[in-house]
């Protein structure tokens, strides 16, 4: 275990401390999804997955 790994772990733990209160607040106060909302979000995200697979395929040729 070197200093770089310890410093990286400290950085990520600090990031968690920064994110946690915001996550809690957003989790409990976000509006509920209505019908069709999740599918509207999943369509572009699946497009991103397909695009990443395409890029990986292109660079591995």
């Amino acid at each position: 275990m070197d200093g770089m790994q310890i410093a990286s772990a400290i950085f990520l733990i600090l990031m968690l401390a920064f994110l946690f209160p915001r996550a809690k607040q957003m989790f409990f106060n976000s509006p509920k999804a209505e019908s069709g909302d999740w599918s509207a979000a999943l369509v572009p995200l699946l497009g991103v997955v397909g695009f990443i697979i395409l890029l990986v395929w292109l660079v591995s040729q």
Partner: protein, 221 residues
């Protein structure tokens, strides 16, 4: 009785368009600025520890300074400081990939891929005008789980987990682009300084994670 007031609706649309325009303008300038600081850092051949110190500095600014300055002109200077530090911190990573035989191609593909993802997702939200604010809690929980797994992987050093985390970060940050853009166009975010930092962080993380994925599958690591 009809409560619809067209003048209020028009004013609101004008102010939303102004936030959107200012956000994209500041985002493009800060991306250019962080590209310049990344080039300076590459030329200076700074170490990974310097890169980490820059990340600490950027986190400190986002955490402690940005909330106090986001509503003043000083906020713009803070955005430049955050993006400059993060760009400078990219230097050692870019130098590492440039040392690979197809390094320049990998970096260019990651950069182009990040741009395509951002434009496609932003275009999708701007066209459909859907409200993705319901995703906020889900995305934050996903991000916390990913960061916890990253901490674990510093000690476990599992390559497959590292790859899975890069893929997960790309998806989570893509979700944040949908979330942040929809918040701007639906009036949930009226501060372009905060909006710029949120979008910049999504782009930064997508670029770094995509570079990692492409480096593993297409590089000679």
């Amino acid at each position: 009785m009809n409560n619809y007031n067209p003048s209020i609706s028009t004013t609101s649309a004008v102010s939303i368009n102004k936030v959107l325009r200012n956000t994209y303008m500041l985002l493009s300038i800060t991306l250019l600025f962080s590209a310049i600081t990344a080039m300076v850092s590459m030329v200076l051949q700074v170490s990974h520890m310097v890169s980490l110190i820059c990340s600490f500095g950027a986190l400190g600014l986002i955490w402690l300074v940005l909330p106090r300055t986001a509503h003043s002109a000083a906020g713009i200077g803070v955005v430049f400081a955050i993006t400059g530090l993060l760009g400078f911190g990219l230097g050692p990573i870019l130098n590492h990939y440039l040392a690979l035989s197809n390094g320049p191609q990998l970096i260019a593909t990651s950069l182009g891929g990040t741009g395509v993802i951002f434009m496609a997702l932003s275009g999708y939200v701007l066209t459909t005008k859907r409200d993705f604010s319901f995703m906020g809690g889900f995305l934050m929980v996903g991000l916390i789980i990913a960061v916890l797994a990253m901490v674990a992987n510093i000690f476990l050093q599992i390559p497959a987990l590292s790859l899975a985390l890069s893929a997960a970060i790309i998806l989570i940050m893509s979700g944040f682009i949908l979330f942040d853009t929809s918040r701007i166009i639906n009036g949930g975010e009226s501060n372009y300084v905060n909006a710029t930092v949120s979008l910049y962080l999504s782009l930064y993380n997508i670029f770094v994670s995509l570079l990692h994925l492409l480096g593993v599958f297409g590089g000679d690591e």
